[in-house]
């Protein structure tokens, strides 16, 4: 079940009806857990078992970690959690990738390993990382283990964020489950605003842009320069609206139910450096990678060379997390290289991150350079193969011949986005008005809702991050 299906809204209505009528916290949590498992089973009930096993393993590891003082045992428990979670993720998501990639090397050794017909369980990348953050935090003493199986299971399975994030931290969410949170009109309205905004971004903008982007990218090299650039810019907006739209809906629904998730996107296309971009894009993932990969590797504490190495490893694995393909790894590597260069430059020039000292021209140049790198990165992120990516890049910079196809909708969206972002730069308070009580927001939000309903796509477009 996805958030843009009619069935989901019927499901949501039933959930709200129950939550509104039930007063006990425990009963409410058990109901939400059952609803979340139904939500997951709707996609494929066979993989509900995998989710339950993952929950059970890490719940008991969490308890054992707190009860055991022996360092060796605690390390072993953590190692078991890591191996189990990464093992499950690795098998379902990366087995065929590694077999295909290594086939050339294995064959001369007489090893013929064939790929398997494996279905990728939806949301596995998200709930695996979420579970790991719990066991690692308990191991490092940052978090007490959860005593309630219901609470822990709900933390992992909570339906608004189960299948495509945001990656919620146990330290943020588990305390919220301890107390009863009555539904409130204010939270319903605030959450409802986010839900409508997210729906508009995903259904009206992202799904309609996808029709254009999919054709141009599948016919890489057939289209002229302007069309290719238009498709790349359109994809930049599509992926933002698709993913941030889903996050908005998840955060909005959780808020309506009484729970708070942290913001996952913060105007990423206003970033004036690549590190700033990663402080604004998929914040729950970037902070997870920072806290559980980059910092344990040493972060920036072990000298310049090691810092650059840590950055590259983090971004390469971050790229691999997005998909089992070398193009995703390359995308991660591109961002890693950009981060390294940016870090090196800032160390050399002694800026120490004090952006306020940079001139307007320098910030504009930083913004333009960052957006250029991000757009090029998206070419690899979206392309199925390096050959396709190379064809797209060739038609962006070198080859102007090809079919001309200038989608009026794509042009309109890009112009509207640009105008909004420009407005935001000069009047951030006004541009953010949509999410607050004022004269504009009901008009804009209701218009968004009508447009979404009126132009609802006839065919199903999955969320991009579902595949991760």
């Amino acid at each position: 079940m996805v958030f843009t299906q009619i069935e989901f809204f019927i499901f949501l209505a039933v959930v709200f009806l129950f939550v509104a009528t039930v007063k006990g916290n425990e009963t409410r949590k058990i109901f939400l857990l059952a609803a979340s498992w139904y939500f997951y089973a709707y996609w494929d009930w066979r993989f509900l078992g995998l989710l339950l096993v993952s929950i059970t393993v890490d719940y008991y590891i969490g308890l054992a970690l707190e009860r055991t003082a022996c360092a060796k045992t605690r390390r072993a428990l953590l190692l078991f959690s890591l191996i189990f979670n990464f093992g499950v993720l690795g098998f379902f998501k990366y087995f065929n990738f590694f077999v295909t990639s290594l086939a050339g090397m294995l064959q001369p050794l007489g090893l013929n390993v064939s790929t398997l017909s494996i279905i990728l369980p939806v949301g596995i990348s998200f709930y695996t990382f979420q579970s790991l953050s719990y066991t690692i935090d308990v191991y490092s003493g940052k978090l007490r283990s959860c005593r309630s199986f219901t609470d822990y299971a709900l933390f992992v399975s909570f339906f608004p964020q189960l299948v495509a994030g945001p990656i919620v931290r146990a330290s943020d969410f588990l305390p919220q489950l301890e107390t009863y949170r009555a539904l409130s009109k204010v939270r319903m309205i605030e959450g409802g605003r986010l839900l409508v905004l997210g729906l508009f971004k995903k259904v009206f903008i992202a799904d309609h842009l996808a029709r254009y982007v999919d054709v141009v990218f599948s016919g890489a090299g057939l289209f002229d320069m302007a069309t290719t650039w238009l498709a790349v810019l359109a994809y930049s907006i599509q992926i933002f609206c698709d993913f941030s739209g889903y996050s908005d809906m998840a955060i909005g629904i959780a808020k309506m139910l009484g729970y708070d998730f942290t913001v996952n996107f913060r105007m990423p296309y206003l970033a004036d450096s690549i590190s700033d971009f990663w402080r604004r894009w998929h914040i729950s993932l970037s902070t997870w990678l920072r806290d559980y990969l980059y910092i344990p590797l040493g972060g920036s504490r072990k000298g310049r060379g090691r810092t650059y190495f840590n950055l590259m490893v983090t971004m390469l694995l971050g790229g691999l997390w997005h998909g089992a393909a070398w193009t995703f790894v390359f995308w991660g590597g591109l961002h890693g290289a950009a981060l390294v260069i940016s870090k090196h430059y800032s160390l050399l020039s002694g800026e120490r991150g004090l952006r306020a000292e940079r001139s307007l021209a320098a910030r504009f140049a930083g913004w333009a350079g960052t957006m250029f790198i991000v757009a090029i990165g998206w070419v690899f992120f979206r392309s199925q193969t390096f050959t396709d990516a190379a064809l797209i890049l060739r038609h962006m910079f070198l080859d102007s011949t090809g079919i001309a196809w200038y989608s009026p909708f794509a042009i309109g969206v890009i112009l509207a986005f640009s105008a909004y972002y420009l407005y935001y730069v000069f009047r951030p308070d006004r541009a953010s008005a949509l999410l607050f009580d004022n004269i504009y927001s009901p008009f804009v939000l209701m218009s968004m809702l009508w447009l979404t309903i009126m132009f609802y796509p006839k065919d199903f477009q999955p969320f991009i991050y579902f595949q991760f």
Binding site: I6, Y42, W43, P408, P442, F443
Partner: protein, 364 residues
């Protein structure tokens, strides 16, 4: 609740109205026409199309487009028959194949001819068989019947999604005309549709169709709802797959004989192959139905019917100008209905065929 909510809600309705006016298609409004024994668009009705291309179509009497002046006895009429490709809501009237033909023909020093379009979405060969004699009474000076075949399916028997008339193969080949649907609520629906068109509320109609009836080839939303946990499966075909159907030389002969039976003027079949097209990221220039259509062309030739295939002209358009004869900026190039270039090429092909027939002038 925000105290500005009622104002915002009212103001947002204006957005809905504006969006309908600019971006939504008109609702088709038809009425029973006893002269043609079928439903036809209301005379004078303007149909706006925005979902594919950007066109405006004004219907004349009996659903004829471009029909002003067709009753001039000194001017022969070229009746262009077809389905949605001739109905051509996607292009403005000034760019439809009948109008383009008139522009081309008027520039020649030739016998005065005027083309009109008689097309309806869902029509097939059986519909033309039953309609030609009826329109002959309305337009006595038809001198050519041009039948546009948008795909091989138009000639195949036993198809389930054509409207009004059927071509069956069992027990023998035959054209069947279905009785008209009940008219009791039609008048009420017609008034409602006209009201929605005038007030920019087409979205209500299309929402009703999507939810309760289903768009062509798709189930209604209400029958697609699923609440039971499922099992992940591979991607389906999405839209309903077309029925497998075959036709042999005898079937083509049947079609040709039947068409000659009802048309006392020369017949021209114009075939629109689906090339060039974009498929899986590649340009396809070879028509998959070329063998079958060659057989049909041979049967036409043997029976004194002119057959024109647009394959060469369409591919030449792409070779020379990197343009497709189908598709629009707001859809996908190479997919869907004919665009203005496609209509222009078909008009040229019809003019060339008539020139050759009348004066023996061959064109490249």
């Amino acid at each position: 609740m925000n105290r500005f909510f009622p104002l915002g809600l009212f103001a947002s309705i204006l957005i809905v109205w504006l969006s309908s006016a600019l971006f939504m298609d008109s609702i088709p409004t038809c009425t029973w026409d006893p002269a043609i024994q079928d439903y036809a668009p209301i005379s004078g009705a303007k149909y706006v199309f925005r979902s594919e291309g950007r066109g405006e179509t004004v219907f004349g009497e009996h659903g004829i487009v471009g029909g002003a002046g067709y009753d001039d006895p000194t001017t022969g009429v070229v009746a262009i028959w077809g389905d949605s490709f001739v109905e051509a809501f996607q292009v403005p009237d000034g760019h439809k194949m009948s109008t383009r033909f008139n522009e081309i023909w008027n520039s020649l020093n030739a016998r005065p001819l005027r083309a009109v379009s008689i097309g309806r979405s869902g029509f097939s060969i059986a519909n033309y068989y039953f309609s030609i004699p009826l329109y002959r009474k309305i337009i006595p000076n038809i001198v050519y019947n041009v039948v546009v075949i948008s795909s091989l399916r138009d000639l195949l028997p036993d198809q389930s999604d054509f409207i009004g008339c059927s071509f069956i193969s069992s027990p023998d080949y035959a054209f069947i005309k279905a009785p008209p649907p009940g008219k009791s609520l039609k008048r009420l629906f017609l008034i409602a549709k006209q009201f929605m068109n005038r007030t920019g509320m087409q979205y209500l109609y299309y929402a009703y169709v999507d939810i309760m009836i289903g768009a062509p080839g798709k189930k209604p939303l209400i029958k697609n709802l699923r609440f039971m946990p499922g099992v992940r499966s591979g991607s389906g075909s999405g839209e309903g797959a077309s029925r497998d159907s075959v036709i042999d030389r005898a079937g083509f002969k049947f079609i040709v004989d039947k068409m000659r039976e009802v048309s006392d003027v020369p017949i021209i079949f114009v075939y629109l192959p689906n090339v060039p097209s974009l498929h899986d990221g590649k340009i396809v220039t070879r028509d998959v139905n070329s063998e079958k259509m060659k057989t049909f062309a041979d049967v036409c030739s043997e029976n004194g019917i002119i057959f024109v295939s647009m394959e060469r002209r369409f591919n030449e358009l792409f070779r020379s100008a990197r343009k497709f004869p189908r598709g629009f900026p707001n859809t996908v190039p190479g997919v869907g209905h004919l665009n203005e270039d496609g209509h222009r090429l078909v008009a040229m092909a019809i003019a060339d065929a008539i020139k050759e027939d009348l004066y023996g002038i061959h064109s490249n």
